[in-house]
């Protein structure tokens, strides 16, 4: 592949017709959650896009994010992009192994210093000097710091890289941290989810590649295009919530009728993601449509946010224990206070010197 060619030239070289290119642009626009009116602009941008180098680092992760991406519903179109980008390092996908792999990474870094895109999945163990996870003898922490230094931008794919995810869950034995906690001074895009919706990953990559710019981000560094609205607001079960119709168990009448899953612990109201619109498995469905509440996987600390099956309005503590404890304390304190009050009253009564007429009449 010739590095000097634009994406447009590259596609035509592969025999893609102009109609095919427009189709590609239409699909890409949809993928980036951009309105169809943007298709001509996207076409112009893609025509002139230059081939970037991408390094993908995987740390404390389960490969679910990579699975999500590679098994997404539009492999062919995406493969056009991934064929075009130079994915210079990715444990799972690359053919090279061992020293060869590391050498490839270092070569790519050197060659594209300051220009390559760094994608990270998995959290980074930061405790005890990062000894809990190493690759080729290098700690994840060190590798991240080295590679991040020369990156133009970083995309944290998945909740682990974005927010620490499961490795960071209580009691967080490895001191797992997110990329943004460890790397400062670089543009970082968080694409959280466990895993993220494939289209959110490809959409961000496509946008970076085509527009060469970072998308608009929310306060947690997530692209607004995919994480701008909460699940609850776009949920097709929202009308049931409005009417106060809730499934009480997973197999009751309400569950069968598709009523709101709020009471079963759905975290839709506090979760910002595109599941309700983009959906999963070729647009088939998403968790709520399948009958299970949202677990809020694209939010920080979702694992420790009070249990998947507790309604958001329900405090997470052991309320009965709290009440009993407080009542016991009250009983103990009450005995003391009662005794003090009684003593004060008895003292007052004992000290009572009857009021006399003489006293009344003194001046």
């Amino acid at each position: 592949m010739n590095d000097d060619k634009t994406l447009g030239e590259h596609l035509r070289e592969r025999g893609i017709s102009r109609r095919g290119f427009m189709k590609f642009c239409a699909v890409t626009a949809s993928m980036m959650a951009m309105p169809p009116s943007m298709i001509p602009a996207i076409a112009a941008a893609l025509e002139n896009a230059r081939r970037p180098s991408v390094i993908w680092l995987s740390f404390q992760e389960c490969t679910g994010c990579t699975e999500s991406l590679t098994r997404s519903h539009a492999p062919t179109v995406e493969s056009l992009i991934f064929d075009y980008i130079s994915l210079d390092y990715h444990h799972t996908l690359q053919a090279a192994a061992g020293d060869h792999a590391e050498a490839a990474r270092e070569a790519a870094m050197k060659e594209n210093w300051g220009k390559y895109l760094l994608i990270v999945d998995g959290s980074i163990p930061a405790k005890d000097g990062g000894v809990y996870s190493t690759i080729a003898g290098v700690t994840n922490l060190q590798m991240l710091q080295e590679v991040a230094e020369g990156a133009a931008a970083i995309v944290s794919v998945g909740t682990c890289a974005a927010f620490g995810g499961l490795p960071k869950a209580n009691p967080n034995p490895t001191g797992a941290a997110s990329v943004s906690e460890l790397i400062k001074g670089k543009p970082i895009i968080n694409v959280p989810g466990c895993p993220p919706i494939p289209i959110a990953i490809t959409g961000v990559l496509a946008q970076y590649l085509t527009m060469g710019a970072l998308p608009e981000l929310d306060h947690l560094g997530r692209p607004m295009a995919f994480y701008g609205q909460n699940i609850h607001d776009r949920c097709y079960r929202r009308p049931f919530y409005e009417r106060g119709q809730f499934a009480e168990t997973f197999d009751d009448e309400g569950a069968r009728k598709g009523w709101c899953l709020f009471k079963l612990g759905c975290k839709g109201p506090t979760t910002y993601n595109a599941c309700a619109t983009a959906k999963w498995n070729d647009g088939t469905s998403f968790p709520i449509e399948a009958g299970h509440g949202c677990i809020g996987c694209s939010e920080p600390n979702f694992w420790d946010a009070g249990g998947f099956y507790n309604a958001l309005s329900v405090p997470t503590g052991n309320t009965a224990k709290t009440i009993l404890g407080a009542a016991a304390a009250a009983a103990a304190a009450g005995v003391v206070i009662g005794a003090v009050n009684k003593r004060n009253k008895n003292k007052a009564a004992a000290a009572h010197e009857p009021l006399t007429v003489d006293e009344l009449n003194r001046e």
């Binding site: 304190a333 206070i337 004060n344 009253k345 009021l355 007429v357 009344l360």
Partner: protein, 426 residues
């Protein structure tokens, strides 16, 4: 001399604070409804007269001394001690601007007995030396002479003599074994001698034995009004001793509101035991006689008349139906005031206000409430069953130049008794 008496006042208030008082203060939400029920606030618009504000010193003592929160606030200097200044400032609120009518207690949405608390806080004010002259004088006379107006036994004996002379009716003195012992209020001895005559007639027709005690003829109890339980106890004890010595079955409280409260409700609690006799208001007795068919009435008043409910008898005493039943026996044109029975308006002179000359101006202002009720009805005669109400009403009517005669219900009934002349002659 003043500092220790304030201490005594605070200590007396402390003694009065019990679970009900604590619950009342815990419940108060400062909604201000009690003000809307209050005669004195209603006629002056002065927010200091809001009933719950009248017991503010008591609330502060309760909070400081009987709540954890108050103690914590005290540690940080966030709560003020009740001082001499407070006693001075609240004295008029506690005595002049409250007739203990109890209307506020009935409207309080959380059920606070505010008027009951004002009765209690007066214990501290009298002990601290912050009580009105008039009430101190009345109480002193009651203890030392036997009657707040200074009436002595010879005056009663003279009245008994006049009665015998004028009507031939007997009023037995110190007759052991009589069924009823009749108490009189000094007002009745001095201003309304008709009452004794009425009782004598009624008892005669009903065929009941009765007596007046030379040791305890006085029904009123200034100790209750000034809020000095130690003195009120002594006054109640005199009546109890006399009644038990004479062995009567029932003591009859006269047409006097607070006397009924004193002897009927507070008495046993003051002396610390139940009585060996019953206590009834004269209207209760009359209604009982009527029910038993012992009394026959003739002729009916045609004048338009209404009944002024004495607070202590009606709202706080529960004698509500009896006066109405009895009144209807002898009146053709009996009408009710808009707010009557349990929600009546006080005459403005109850709770010691009428004995407190300092409060006269305020009392007359407050009377405008009764005036407006009467203006609305346009009656010819005002009937009541409390000598204190009666004198307050008469004074108020005079002040506002209204010409409505005020009569006692017992006397009016006595006038309509069927006289058996022959029997009398025989």
């Amino acid at each position: 001399m003043s500092a220790p008496s304030v201490e005594k006042g605070i200590q007396f208030i402390r003694e009065q604070i019990d679970a009900p008082v604590a619950s009342f203060f815990s419940s108060c939400v400062h909604c201000g409804m009690c003000a809307e029920a209050c005669l004195f606030y209603g006629q002056t618009g002065d927010p200091r007269y809001t009933p719950i504000n009248k017991v503010e010193p008591m609330r502060r003592i309760w909070e400081r001394e009987f709540t954890l929160w108050g103690r914590i606030k005290g540690l940080f200097g966030l709560s003020r001690k009740v001082t001499e200044k407070d006693f001075a400032e609240w004295e008029t609120l506690v005595y002049d601007a409250c007739s203990l009518c109890g209307r506020c207690s009935l409207v309080c949405p959380v059920g606070n007995d505010i008027s009951g608390m004002i009765r209690k806080i007066r214990e501290g004010f009298s002990a601290a030396g912050y009580a009105p002259e008039g009430l101190i004088g009345a109480t002193t006379r009651a203890i030392e002479i036997g009657s707040p107006m200074g009436v002595k036994l010879p005056a009663v004996q003279a009245q008994i003599g006049h009665l015998k002379q004028d009507t031939g009716l007997e009023a037995p003195l110190d007759q052991a074994g009589a069924e009823y012992m009749v108490l009189l209020s000094s007002m009745e001895i001095m201003n309304f001698p008709e009452y004794m005559e009425a009782v004598a007639r009624i008892m005669k027709q009903a065929g009941k034995t009765w007596t007046i005690s030379s040791k305890a003829f006085e029904a009123t109890n200034s100790g209750i009004q000034i809020g000095a339980s130690d003195l009120a106890r002594e006054l109640v004890q005199r009546v109890v001793d006399a009644a038990e010595e004479l062995g009567v079955k029932t003591v009859i409280s006269p047409e006097c509101g607070h006397a009924y409260t004193a002897i009927r409700w507070e008495g046993p609690n003051l002396i610390g035991r139940a009585y060996k006799f019953k206590v009834q208001h004269i209207l209760e007795v009359l209604d009982e006689f009527r029910g038993q068919g012992l009394l026959k009435f003739e002729g009916k008043e045609t004048a338009k008349m209404t009944f002024h409910d004495p607070c202590q008898l009606v709202r706080k005493g529960g004698v509500i139906k009896q006066p109405r039943t009895l009144l209807n026996l002898v009146a053709d044109n009996f009408v009710e005031m808009t707010d009557h029975a349990s929600m009546n308006w006080c005459c403005s002179g109850g709770g010691g206000v009428s004995a407190n000359e300092r409060a006269d101006e305020l009392k007359f202002k407050a009377f405008r409430q009764k005036k407006s009720q009467l203006d609305e009805l346009q009656v010819d005669t005002l009937v009541t069953a409390c000598a204190n109400c009666r004198i307050t009403l008469e004074e108020g009517l005079e002040e506002y130049e209204m010409d409505i005669p005020v009569v006692g219900l017992t006397e009016m009934l006595a006038e309509h008794l069927v006289e058996d002349k022959q029997e009398e002659q025989a």
